[in-house]
């Protein structure tokens, strides 16, 4: 068992004042077999009443409406999480598997990704788990981690074409290929010790259980991973979504921290 303290801070600056905005923030650690949220505090500025809810993936969210003019929007979430078991293994609900079996959104296999797939050899793999591990090693080897190489909107196929990207791209390519191989897979957004921003990885269905794989770091998820949300691709568990009136150009500052606090 491990206790983790986490903080997530986001500030958006606008060059032109925003007269009102709607926001949805999905940045609350998910309660599941592996992790348990002990305490949490959320603040939003400009100060606004907000509601709590859950989306259809059971990702926890807050949402609200800022009605006063502002040129900066920020939210800050801090709390403590207990990691109950080291590796992530959750029994899958049968009615929530099919949706992760088919190509979706940014995870559509294109010509180049399929060509790559054809170079892979899984003949030694005895199980789905083996295949997931094998693909993770290969992807880690064949794709380069380059900060800022891609954008939020970049698809798996586009990232693969560039040959480089960030954790979101690793996760997208990974789940696209797993689904193509017939293994249900989902995108996970979360936090990680030693990482100054949010992190992304994937969960794949092996023998009826969801297992967390982190292709960016070529490892199974560890005590240091805090899961915030999941979905069929990054867009479905994006940490924040907003709708603004005005704003001009905007600049974002994000900081995150996960600390072990025994």
């Amino acid at each position: 068992m491990e206790r983790l303290h986490f903080e997530y801070h986001m500030e958006i600056f606008y060059t032109v004042p925003v007269s009102q905005c709607y926001f949805t923030i999905k940045c609350i650690p998910k309660e599941d077999a592996r992790q348990h949220l002990l305490s949490m505090d959320i603040s939003v500025l400009p100060e606004t009443a907000f509601s709590y809810g859950e989306d259809s993936y059971c990702n926890r969210q807050i949402f609200g409406h800022v009605k006063e003019t502002h040129d900066k929007f920020l939210y800050h979430i801090t709390g403590d999480v207990e990691i109950l078991q080291t590796d992530y293994e959750e029994e899958a609900k049968e009615e929530r598997i099919g949706m992760y079996r088919f190509p979706f959104g940014k995870c559509l296999p294109g010509r180049k990704l399929l060509a790559y797939y054809n170079t892979l050899d899984f003949s030694e793999c005895k199980s789905e788990y083996d295949k997931c591990i094998r693909l993770m090693h290969r992807l880690h080897q064949d794709f380069r981690y380059v900060p800022n190489a891609t954008q939020i909107e970049t698809t798996a196929e586009e990232a693969w074409n560039m040959g480089k990207g960030v954790c979101q791209d690793y996760a997208h390519i990974y789940i696209t290929l797993l689904r193509y191989m017939g293994i249900p897979a989902r995108y996970v957004c979360g936090l990680l010790t030693g990482e100054g921003k949010s992190h992304a990885w994937a969960e794949a269905l092996c023998n009826g259980r969801w297992i967390g794989f982190d292709p960016t770091n070529d490892c199974l998820i560890s005590n240091g991973h805090i899961k915030l949300g999941d979905g069929r691709d990054a867009s479905e568990c994006a940490i924040n979504r907003g709708l603004i009136w005005g704003g001009g150009t905007q600049m974002q500052e994000i900081s995150a921290a996960v600390l072990q606090n025994q």
């Binding site: 809810g53 989306d55 009615e95 069929r232």
Partner: protein, 439 residues
């Protein structure tokens, strides 16, 4: 029928319809054109007994479709039990993962269903398709009846027919049944929508407020209507005439300017009813159509009362074989298209078109269905003073309140082109009133 006194008033009724703004707007080549929806005054007449039969069949079908939607967005028993392959759920453009685990008030998904039927030359009625998202068209026979009664009261004194002006009451019943507390509103995308006439007419007849997105606001997990003097009043039910993707820019298409931010979150919390519920597209998909008779057996343990047109799914090997062998006798439909688009008759393709199509079919078998061409009965329409036969279908309306209600009328659409089977209003067809005899 040709002796009906009413027929002398056709031009008069059409003039009045134009004046009331009974128009159909269509987008073609990126421009918006409004066109009149031509009315033909020879009614489609359905005998009392025949309509009883239709009514039973329609209720059964809509009950099963509602159960299917409830099942698909929760336990998915029908998939688990192998009746519907999951390929037809998750790849369907109408499936919305956002609706997983969200239960609409009273478990009703399709409050207003528009079921399209045709009557074959064999005298048998066939279901052509189910419309469970935002089916339109009820207002046209409503207003046509009203104007015809005014033009020719004698005709209606002589005929014993069901009054169809009660549609507004049925709709009101369906809306009130699921209202979560507060006003009932009809949400329109605005006057440039193809069915704007209908939105305003139904609002007037049901007494619901006609609103656009900017008049509704979400506050503290509830939905409010902003009155003309700036007051906020709670809304408990929204008969929304905008499609799922534009409903809520915070949950669906972020570029939507006609939606209401967070309305879906309010719906999810059970604080407002949306008619029809989001996500219904997964049940009126042309691919799912094939499975409706199976659904009826599965959920209700009954034999389907109404027939589907004989349909084949190239997804299944045996059906693919049949389709390739009988290609010229079949009509092929792209499951992703609607409004009479994406429909091709095997017999009217050139050799090259046929070869290309078959190649595509083999590559994407899930994308198409094939159906026997139903030779449906012609109805007479008046053209330059003469009665001429044309293809026509019937859109029946089924409303779901504490019980399913079938409107004793319907929209009869006809093709003005004598060689065409496609009757959709977006393809330039016209309409008739539908008379259900009361005895």
């Amino acid at each position: 029928m040709k002796q009906l006194e009413l027929l002398q008033h056709t031009d008069n009724v059409n003039e009045l319809l134009a004046r009331y703004g009974v128009k159909f707007g269509i987008y073609k080549d990126n421009t918006f054109k409004e066109q009149l929806f031509p009315f033909d005054s020879i009614p489609r007449i359905i005998e009392n007994e025949e309509f009883d039969y239709l009514e039973k069949g329609l209720k059964q079908r809509v009950i099963a479709l509602n159960l299917f939607l409830k099942d698909i967005y929760s336990k998915k028993r029908i998939v688990k039990d192998g009746i519907v392959p999951e390929d037809f759920i998750y790849v369907s453009g109408g499936y919305m993962a956002e609706c997983e685990g969200v239960m609409p008030a009273k478990g009703i998904y399709s409050h207003i269903s528009g079921i399209d039927l045709v009557k074959g030359k064999d005298g048998i009625w066939y279901i052509l398709e189910d419309n469970l998202r935002v089916p339109s068209g009820a207002s046209y026979p409503m207003i046509a009846r009203e104007l015809c009664r005014r033009s020719s009261p004698e005709t209606f004194q002589a005929a014993h027919l069901e009054d169809n002006r009660n549609y507004a009451n049925l709709l009101r019943r369906a809306m009130d049944y699921v209202n979560m507390g507060g006003h009932t509103v009809i949400l329109t995308p605005g006057r440039y929508n193809a069915a704007y006439f209908e939105h305003s007419y139904l609002a007037e007849k049901t007494g619901a407020h006609l609103v656009n997105g900017s008049e509704l606001i979400v506050e503290e997990e509830k939905l409010f209507y902003i009155t003309a003097d700036g007051k906020r009043e709670r809304v408990g039910a929204v008969y929304r005439r905008i499609s799922d993707e534009y409903l809520d820019p915070m949950n669906f298409n972020p570029d939507s300017l006609i939606g209401i931010p967070h309305i879906f979150d309010v719906f999810r919390k059970g604080n407002v009813a949306l008619l029809n519920a989001p996500g219904n597209g997964v049940a009126d998909d042309k691919g799912i159509y094939y499975f409706v008779p199976k659904m009826i057996r599965y959920y209700l343990n009954e034999d389907p009362i109404l027939n589907n047109a004989p349909t084949y799914l190239p997804f299944y090997e045996a059906d693919m074989k049949y389709v390739l062998e009988n290609f010229d006798n079949l009509v092929l439909k792209d499951v992703a298209e609607a409004g009479g688009y994406g429909v091709a008759f095997g017999s009217s393709m050139t050799k090259k078109q046929k070869a290309d199509f078959i190649e595509l079919l083999k590559k994407e078998p899930r994308r198409f269905i094939a159906q026997e061409v139903i030779d449906f009965q012609d109805l007479d329409i008046m053209e330059e003073g003469r009665a001429v036969p044309r293809k026509a279908d019937l859109r029946a309306f089924v409303l779901m309140a504490d019980e399913p209600l079938v409107w004793k009328s319907g929209l009869t659409r006809f093709s003005r082109n004598p060689d065409s089977f496609i009757v959709n209003s977006s393809q330039g067809g016209g309409f008739k009133d539908t008379w259900v005899l009361s005895r």
